[in-house]
């Protein structure tokens, strides 16, 4: 009898916990994402940001669209992002094709190299390109002695291409490995020419992946701040114009207005991606991947050369930055020195440690919250599932700089105690990167056999103990993956937090921008190198942890 009452109380508690968690997640997203966005919207449409009918105004938008130099940033952004998108999609398509459909050697090497840009802030490309192709670049000025240089649109496009490669690769690699290769074989054996097979079978079967990769690249490029600010020269794009309006002219209202203008294309690209990726999931068949037929010799050589070229470009970027941080005066004096590692800035090494601690916390908090949210959303099917899902994936559409500006506008009040502390940075980074955490947690949970959970519940486990004793241990590999992702993002993010660093909190990635701004390029390279090394050390540690976590027998229960 007593047993019965206990478990009924338990049931009551169970009914209560999932809605609570759901509401908590929703509240979190509303308060830390929608509320700052709302402040931006208000400031751009209402005089002085005061919500009242009499204050409604379109004058900010009018000023933006009628001032030649501000309007130019919109065309610049669209041009740069458009060109980058086309280039990245083409490059990565053939790269992923080579890795999935041909029998070239060293595939693991290529797969690892293409992911390399993820370990550094989106500024490393620009720094390296200036050293190589700047006005006094090693290649432009010293090898070819030409006056041509890379500053401006070309520089932004090249650096963004190199920055977007891994992101587009993940999508196209998945698509091309999932599409059934037997279709190609069938067409070929029916007598179609290789060209025809490619245009009629291979391309159409990968179209969702291609569009999705293109949309993601467009979004990443148009919202990026680090590369354009370093290599853009006088070429302004929307992201840099927001920063310029706010910091140079104190025009917060115009900054908010440009934020809204930037939100339109980035939200558009995101919605396209969102729509496409839902469709493309259904294309992926669980059929076992058949063996790839040996590639013809010439084709194999061409694809190998192609892959090596791309791998070489990425390696060159990283080696340039690392070597640049150790030589005395690039490219005049190649004496090795550690001088650039004594940073001429207030932040210095303390900024690196702050970044590491914040990233560890972001890693733990981020991966835990996204796991809980995914669990509440997926396994228990609460009423608001769709709503929660939509808001959870939305952060990917919001440019970091816009979010940062929104945070200043929303939380710079005496009663928000966390403003000016490291916490606002932790929250900001977790929210800005919520999307991927949620997506990977959801796909992981889908792989857990529901019967295990049912067994736990029928044996008397409540929601909490099921989560902590069954779901959490079974998700630990995904948890570690998410931790890695959040940690890397937190170490390397620039745009979201540039408005949030303060006298008490200096961050390494922001220090790079500041050092470069002041002309301490070699020290900026040195700081970049420090971040890269730290991320690699962390990846090494997590690799070991992963091995250890993967060894325990419980993972065998995970089906699929």
């Amino acid at each position: 009898m007593t047993d019965y009452t206990v478990s009924s109380a338990r049931m009551e508690f169970d009914k209560f916990i999932i809605p609570t968690v759901t509401i908590f997640i929703l509240a979190l997203l509303f308060f830390f994402m929608m509320f700052p966005l709302w402040m931006i919207l208000k400031l751009s449409f209402f005089e002085g940001g005061e919500l009242a009918l009499a204050n409604f105004t379109l004058s900010n938008f009018k000023q933006y669209f009628t001032t030649a130099y501000t309007l130019r940033s919109l065309w610049h952004s669209l041009y740069v992002s458009g060109v980058t998108t086309v280039i990245v999609t083409i490059i990565i398509f053939f790269f992923a094709y080579a890795l999935t459909r041909t029998t070239i050697a060293n595939k693991t090497f290529f797969r690892n190299i293409i992911m390399l840009p993820l370990v550094a802030p989106s500024i490393v490309q620009a720094l390296a390109l200036i050293y190589l192709f700047g006005r006094n670049g090693l290649i432009t000025s010293h090898l070819f002695q030409t006056d041509w240089n890379i500053y401006g649109a070309t520089g932004i496009i090249v650096s963004e291409v190199l920055y977007c490669l891994p992101h587009a690769f993940v999508i196209l690699f998945t698509t091309l490995s999932a599409v059934d290769i037997r279709l190609d074989e069938a067409a070929e054996s029916l007598g179609a020419s290789p060209f025809k097979v490619f245009t009629r079978i291979t391309l159409p079967s990968a179209k969702y992946g291609i569009i999705s990769a293109a949309a993601l690249t467009f979004n990443l490029t148009i919202t990026d701040f680090g590369n354009p600010v370093v290599i853009g020269g006088n070429y302004s794009v929307l992201a840099t114009e927001i920063y310029a309006q706010v910091t140079n002219l104190y025009r917060f209202d115009l900054g908010a207005t440009i934020s809204i203008i930037l939100l339109v294309p980035s939200l558009g690209a995101f919605m396209l991606n969102y729509y496409i990726s839902r469709k493309s999931f259904s294309m992926i068949s669980g059929a076992a991947r058949p063996f790839i037929p040996p590639t013809r010799r010439l084709k194999k050589i061409l694809y190998s050369v192609y892959c090596y070229l791309i791998a070489f470009s990425i390696i060159m970027i990283f080696t340039t930055v690392i070597i640049g941080s150790f030589v005395k005066v690039w490219p005049y004096d190649w004496t090795l020195t550690l001088a650039h590692y004594s940073f001429p800035s207030i932040g210095g090494y303390s900024a690196i440690w702050t970044s590491v601690w914040i990233s560890l916390i972001v890693g733990v908090v981020g991966s835990f919250i996204t796991l809980v949210a995914a669990y509440a959303m997926e396994t228990r099917q609460p009423y608001f599932k769709q709503v929660v899902y939509f808001f959870s994936v939305m952060p990917a559409a919001i440019p970091g700089l816009v979010m940062g500006l929104g945070y200043i506008l929303a939380f710079n009040k005496p009663y928000y105690w966390f403003y000016g502390t490291p916490w606002i940075i932790v929250i900001n980074i977790v929210i800005c990167n919520f999307t991927l955490g949620i997506l990977s947690s959801v796909s992981n949970l889908k792989n857990i056999d529901p019967s295990i959970e049912e067994a736990s519940i029928s044996l008397g486990g409540d929601t909490l103990s099921t989560f902590f004793k069954i779901i959490f241990p079974l998700s630990r590999v995904a948890f570690i993956q998410n931790f890695t992702y959040f940690f890397m993002r937190s170490m390397t993010t620039i745009s979201a937090v540039i408005f949030l660093v303060s006298a008490t909190v200096h961050l390494a990635a922001i220090e790079i921008i500041m050092l470069d701004n002041d002309g301490w390029t070699a020290s900026a390279n040195a700081m970049c190198t420090c971040i890269i090394v730290i991320v690699f050390v962390m990846l090494g540690i997590l690799h070991l942890v992963n091995k250890w976590a993967g060894k325990t027998p419980s993972t065998e229960m995970v089906s699929g």
Partner: protein, 341 residues
């Protein structure tokens, strides 16, 4: 479960680090626009001479700092601003963001280096200067310019670099000095009609780039990216010391200059500590620290660095700070419309 507890231990440890060690000292939060390179040294000195203060500081460009303070107007995060352009400071006085305070030793500072009501006290004067890369000039067989007028010569096409006046205080003082020198009637006419804009349009034809910060033109020139960087005097000294092939030219028409001043911020959370710091910041020993970098400090009788000409031998442009600060927004608007591409 073991792993779960590991996670919690991690969170707990991280929490400890975030809250920081228990503060026994008085904290003072400082905003500054002084160059990173110099301010690192000054802070080292301040920490020795003010052992009971825990100094938290951030260095941002003149514009970034202004935007920060404006955004935080109703919830100030900093206690004081240290070494910030007087032009910008004057703009903030009527906004009631600055609290008058006459630091100890205020009387020793000459009148033209301070606000009569004690809103701000200047610590130094920094002057615009061209930093020229000798190697580049030799290679291209170009003469070294003597002043602004020489820079209009088409032989310098794409060889020049100057800071964007909107983001850099140095860039602003260069433009302001030209507006005031080239048009004697600048006061009586609207900013957009100033004769100097024609000069700047000419100059624009030779300009390789307008860049965000004031010291970067000098540094990029030293690195050989440009031939002539419109920058300021003290960066030159530090580049020369590092062995770059650079020389300094003070424009013969008159070098524009700016005062860098300190002020107490309205709503400072640590007012007592801030006052202590402000007292130190105009003390003789602090000024001797500044003088290792600065062309001229406001404390009488302290000589600037050895490798720079003494202040009284330099022809300075007549700078009109009240006019500049009143018209700052307008000047930047006109400039942006003309020269931002």
């Amino acid at each position: 479960m073991k792993k779960l507890s590991t996670v919690f231990v991690l969170i707990a440890v991280s929490l400890m680090f975030l809250t920081g060690p228990v503060m026994a000292k008085d904290t003072v939060v400082i905003y500054t626009s002084l160059e990173n390179e110099e301010v690192v040294e000054y802070i080292k000195q301040a920490k020795v001479e003010l052992p009971d203060l825990s100094i938290e500081a951030i260095r941002l460009s003149t514009g970034e700092l202004g935007a920060r303070m404006l955004a935080e107007k109703n919830n100030p995060q900093a206690d004081l601003v240290w070494g910030w352009a007087v032009t910008n400071m004057e703009e903030f006085v009527p906004k009631k963001m600055i609290k008058p305070y006459k630091p100890a030793g205020w009387d020793k500072i000459p009148a033209h280096f301070k606000d009569p009501n004690g809103y701000w006290t200047a610590i130094d004067l920094y002057a615009a200067a061209f930093v020229v890369n000798e190697k580049v000039m030799e290679q291209k067989k170009l003469p070294v310019p003597k002043g602004w007028n020489d820079l209009l010569n088409p032989i310098y096409k794409d060889m020049l670099i100057m800071p964007n006046p909107a983001s850099s205080g140095t860039g602003f003082l260069q433009v302001a000095s030209l507006l005031e020198m080239l048009d004697p009637d600048y006061k009586s006419k609207p900013v957009e009609d100033n004769k100097a804009w024609d000069f700047l349009k000419q100059l624009d034809k030779n300009m390789g780039q307008y860049i965000k910060s004031g010291s970067k033109p000098a540094k990029l020139t030293a690195a050989g990216e440009y031939g002539i960087g419109c920058s300021f005097a003290f960066v030159y000294a530090s580049l020369k010391k590092k062995g770059f092939p650079v020389i300094m030219v003070l424009p013969e028409e008159g070098a524009g200059f700016e005062l860098e001043a300190n002020a107490l911020l309205e709503g400072a959370k640590h007012e007592a500590a801030a006052k202590k710091f402000l007292d130190w910041a105009i003390s003789k020993s602090a000024m001797e620290g500044y003088a290792k970098f600065k062309l001229g400090v406001s404390y009488p009788g302290i000589q600037g660095p050895k490798d720079m000409p003494p202040l009284d031998t330099i022809k300075l442009a007549p700078m009109d700070f009240p006019w500049q600060s009143k018209n700052r927004a307008k000047i930047l608007e006109v400039w942006s419309n003309l020269f931002l591409r």
